[in-house]
């Protein structure tokens, strides 16, 4: 981020004049507001920001931003971003996708975007359901979920988006929730600043088709016992009384309870540690198993170069060694000859 800070900009400057049309109470509103706030805080000039989305309730997002935007087709937002990022690496490109858009029809592009590590920020609005098409299961829906396409209760095993992203080679993996504005803002800001493909799973409540899916993690009463907030360099501690945490035993996470003070061997979160991250992304506790679910930046690799950087390097190398493109030489090729004068 090299632009000068625009000190006077506010979240409103990043809004478009279009009426926002999500259902009342939809979690998407909060996300929209926080994204606009983060952009204002970072002071990125509006004209340098592009939002690209697929199809779904969540994918309507670009219409509400006062930046450049492209509402694409179902699942293809990362693919559209390829061409934009490769030819215009200086732009701030955000990809907004849903659990169906990004993990079902567009799963292929999502994993390849992460593997390639282009410098984009990916927001996956996870409501564990297909909102726009009226409530069918999505790849993140839980076993037992009853929907119009699973009237008998789903028996499919769901994706864990952060584990999928990590497995695909993402250099930044985070999880946050629509109902914790401060947390969401801090995670979004980190994601926006990450150099490379940043993947953020946002738990998003769909009050119409899957109300309360994440309440265990987002509501005041249950949140402390079920949500584990990660902070780089800090121990993994959670619980109403902050009396539970994790220790690393061999290659396994073990839950530890303590009453007086933090034990010395508690796991300290190191977001740059790949081995630890591999365990963390797998930690998908539920109220039933007594384990928490981690929120925050699970993994961040600050070292891997981006696709754009590597491409620029190759190009520079070639130009240095073979010179810039000589068009007439290219047209003539290796074997050419002249007839007449």
């Amino acid at each position: 981020m090299t632009e000068a800070l625009h000190p006077s900009v506010s979240a409103k400057d990043y809004a478009s004049d279009q009426e926002v049309r999500w259902c009342p109470g939809c979690g998407d509103y909060a996300i929209l507001k926080q994204v606009q706030t983060v952009l204002a805080e970072l002071g990125v000039p509006r004209e340098n920001v592009v939002f690209i989305s697929g199809i779904g309730c969540s994918s309507r997002f670009p219409y509400y931003m006062g930046t450049y935007g492209l509402h694409g087709i179902h699942g293809r937002a990362p693919a559209i971003a390829y061409g934009l990022k490769i030819t215009r690496p200086e732009l701030h490109v955000w990809i907004v996708t849903g659990d169906g858009d990004g993990l079902s029809i567009g799963g292929n592009h999502l994993i390849h975007m992460l593997r390639r590590n282009m410098d984009v920020t990916i927001l996956l609005f996870n409501n564990e359901v297909y909102g726009l098409t009226k409530g069918q299961i999505s790849p993140t829906s839980r076993p037992g979920q009853r929907t119009p396409s699973t009237p008998w209760g789903s028996f499919e095993h769901p994706f864990n988006p952060v584990a999928l992203a990590f497995g695909a080679g993402a250099t930044f993996v985070a999880r946050t929730m629509d109902r914790d504005l401060a947390h969401m803002r801090s995670v979004l800001k980190r994601a926006a600043q990450h150099r490379g493909a940043a993947f953020v799973e946002i738990y998003q409540n769909c009050p119409v088709f899957n109300d309360g899916a994440f309440f265990a993690y987002t509501e005041k009463e249950s949140k402390p016992d079920n949500a584990l907030f990660l902070e780089h360099g800090q121990p993994l501690v959670f619980g109403q009384n902050r009396d539970r945490g994790f220790v690393l035993e061999g290659t396994a996470l073990r839950l530890a309870s303590f009453s007086d003070g933090l034990p010395a061997n508690l796991w300290i979160h190191d977001e740059t540690d790949r081995t630890k991250a591999a365990l963390l992304v797998q930690l998908l506790g539920t109220p039933d198993d007594g384990l928490p679910r981690p929120f925050g930046v699970l993994y961040a690799d600050h070292t891997r170069p981006t696709y754009e950087e590597l491409l620029a390097e190759r190009r520079q190398h070639l130009v240095q060694h073979h010179g810039g493109g000589d068009l007439s030489a290219l047209l003539r090729g290796k074997n050419w000859w002249t007839i007449g004068s």
Partner: protein, 618 residues
């Protein structure tokens, strides 16, 4: 011995052998040499879909057809004058191409019991000895042995020597057809010199051995001379269709002052475009191997949104995958070019063989009302012009454009007179300016008088806007579900594409009178065959004209009138009558198809017959 030299206008040679025997390489180098020698050329490589089909089998035969002449060579020829068959399978699969009395050069070593059995000859039957080839000038050589002897004092393995048999044959043919050995030697050794000087030296030794063998053996009674063709002054090279496409796009992007973003997913016969683009990093080309064709075309749209030229090329199966995204491109009205290098389908079909059966898909294969300009290339070299023109249209009219080529053009090559970049028409995209704002607000769908919307590029302050696949309100581009607005937008998009025809030159007759008895109407790679056939029939005094279409959508504005000037219309196509249907529906003319769906090109002789029949017996 100084041999008698016979002057002939042209010659067709087919090199056929096992796919590992270097037939393609031999053909390409011989073609190059002939072009450099001043002949016009046309080539047609024909190779199996399998990378390494079992050795000696019919499925494993790879061949390269080459024609060079002292006049304008439009097709690689229906039949050949010389057939080189490196083994029994090559003979079996290609003998039908050889003219009666033609020269048949066979490698005896490729006709042992095993080879004969693999080629499916009956037990104890050897075509080389049973008299069945008495209609041809049969030249039996044990090429393996000759090569072994020529390279006896080298440290090369038998396997390596076997792979160089093609060089001996090249040398021999160079002698037979008076090709300069030095040129051939230069081309061949340049390929290996840096990597493996020993192989380069052996190759060059074999070229000489083959040449000298021709000179000293008494096998050939005469040599042949093909005089130079009379060509317009200029700089020439030989070029394949895929190479020409690449250059067309590179030059067009350069003329427009844009980066060329190329995305592709490997598929025969389009992969070569991706390979070539990938070699052009230093030319402001941004090549990208996508994870599938949907990603490839989507990425091209992304580049277009960013203000650059997005291009992708594929073949039928990939083109089908792109359909949904083409719809998006229509809605967005962004410039982009999609090439479908057609092959025999449906599905995987015959992936290395030409066909023209994607025409209706290109024209109509989308959901909703989604008109897209469609252009077809007529010859390998014409792929340059087609790519350039497609880009020009895409950028001038803010629309996706489809280019149709096929396996015949993609791999085949012909002579290309290199145009000067300055002489090509300018390309000026309609970038948004302050004038496109009303009361300070930019409206992305405010069209100009031609119906074209302005192109506003991210990074430009004051032009921030959102576009997408949802129907948009006329002018503002905001999402709109208004019924009348939708109908209006459908009409505006269609009118814009139709309007292109007004700018294009009227359709002319490619050969013959602009009215009369019979018009043979074609499009795409059948150009050479149709032209040659019409030429031949006209020489016989038949009243026939050739009309060849580059623009398939929008069709040339005068086409209906032109067609109605003929009593009969014959439409030869490598499909089941796609263009025929279109012409009938569009102009209510009695167009009749000549359909061929065999994965092989039209021959001139079959067309001559069809034309004669239509004129005499209809």
């Amino acid at each position: 011995m100084e041999r008698h030299r016979i002057v002939i206008p042209d010659v067709v040679i087919v090199f056929a052998g096992d796919s590992g025997e270097g037939m393609q390489l031999a053909g390409v180098q011989f073609a190059h040499t002939s072009a450099l020698r001043g002949n016009d050329i046309a080539t047609f490589p024909n190779y199996p879909a399998e990378i390494r089909a079992p050795q000696g089998t019919l499925a494993g035969v790879s061949s390269f057809q080459l024609r060079f002449g002292s006049f304008e060579v439009l097709t690689p020829g229906d039949q050949c004058d010389v057939l080189v068959a490196m083994n029994a399978a090559a003979l079996k699969t290609h003998l039908h191409l050889l003219k009666r009395g033609g020269i048949l050069i066979v490698n005896e070593a490729g006709f042992d019991r095993r080879n004969l059995r693999l080629a499916g000859y009956p037990e104890a039957e050897n075509p080389l000895t049973n008299g069945s080839l008495s209609d041809y000038q049969l030249i039996k050589l044990n090429i393996s042995q000759l090569v072994g002897a020529a390279l006896a004092d080298t440290g090369l393995s038998v396997r390596e020597k076997e792979r160089m048999k093609n060089m001996f044959v090249l040398g021999l043919l160079a002698w037979l057809f008076g090709r300069p050995l030095e040129t051939l030697e230069e081309l061949v050794t340049a390929k290996f010199r840096a990597r493996n000087p020993e192989i380069a030296a052996a190759n060059s030794r074999l070229l000489h051995a083959g040449y000298n063998f021709g000179e000293t053996s008494e096998l050939f009674a005469s040599r042949y001379e093909i005089p130079q063709a009379e060509l317009a002054p200029g700089v020439y090279r030989s070029i394949s269709g895929n190479e020409a496409l690449v250059l067309g796009f590179v030059v067009a992007a350069h003329k427009a002052g844009l980066k060329l973003f190329y995305a592709g997913y490997p598929i025969t016969p389009a992969s070569e475009v991706l390979h070539q683009m990938s070699n052009l990093l230093s030319y402001d080309v941004y090549p990208f191997q996508a994870e599938d064709e949907i990603a490839a075309i989507s990425a091209a749209i992304g580049a277009a949104f960013g203000g650059h030229l997005g291009v992708t090329a594929t073949s039928g199966p990939g083109f089908s995958l792109m359909s949904e995204t083409l719809g998006l491109a229509v809605m967005l009205e962004l410039p982009l070019v999609v090439c479908d290098i057609q092959r025999a389908g449906p599905s995987t079909g015959m992936p290395t063989k030409p066909e023209q059966a994607d025409l209706l898909q290109a024209l109509y294969g989308r959901h909703g009302e989604a008109p897209i300009p469609v252009l077809a290339a007529a010859t390998p070299a014409d792929c340059f012009q087609t790519a350039y023109e497609a880009t020009r249209l895409a950028l001038h009219w803010m629309t996706p454009v489809i280019v149709l080529s096929d396996a015949f053009l993609a791999n085949g090559s012909d002579l290309w007179r290199i145009p000067s970049v300055e002489s090509l028409p300018p390309i000026t995209p309609p970038f948004a300016t302050e004038e496109h704002k009303s009361n300070g607000v930019f409206h992305p769908y405010q069209r100009d008088t031609r119906g074209v919307r302005p192109w506003a590029i991210p990074g430009t302050p004051g032009f921030e806007h959102r576009i997408g696949g949802l129907e948009k309100e006329d002018i503002t581009g905001n999402v709109s579900y208004d019924p009348l607005n939708h109908e209006r937008m459908v009409q505006l998009r269609a009118a814009k594409i139709e309007q292109i025809a007004a700018e294009l030159p009227p359709q002319t007759v490619t050969l013959g009178e602009p009215e009369g008895e019979l018009a043979v109407v074609g499009w795409g790679s059948t150009y050479g065959s149709i032209y040659s056939a019409v030429q031949e029939c006209r020489a016989q005094g038949l009243p026939v004209s050739h009309i060849h279409l580059r623009y398939l959508n929008p069709l040339p504005r005068n086409l209906g009138q032109l067609l109605r000037g003929f009593r009969r219309i014959l439409v030869p196509e490598l499909n089941s009558g796609h263009l025929t249907q279109l012409l009938r529906a569009r102009y209510l003319v009695d167009a009749k198809a000549y359909e061929k769906v065999q994965g092989i090109p039209l021959t001139v002789s079959e067309l001559v017959e069809v034309i004669q029949e239509r004129i005499h017996h209809d």
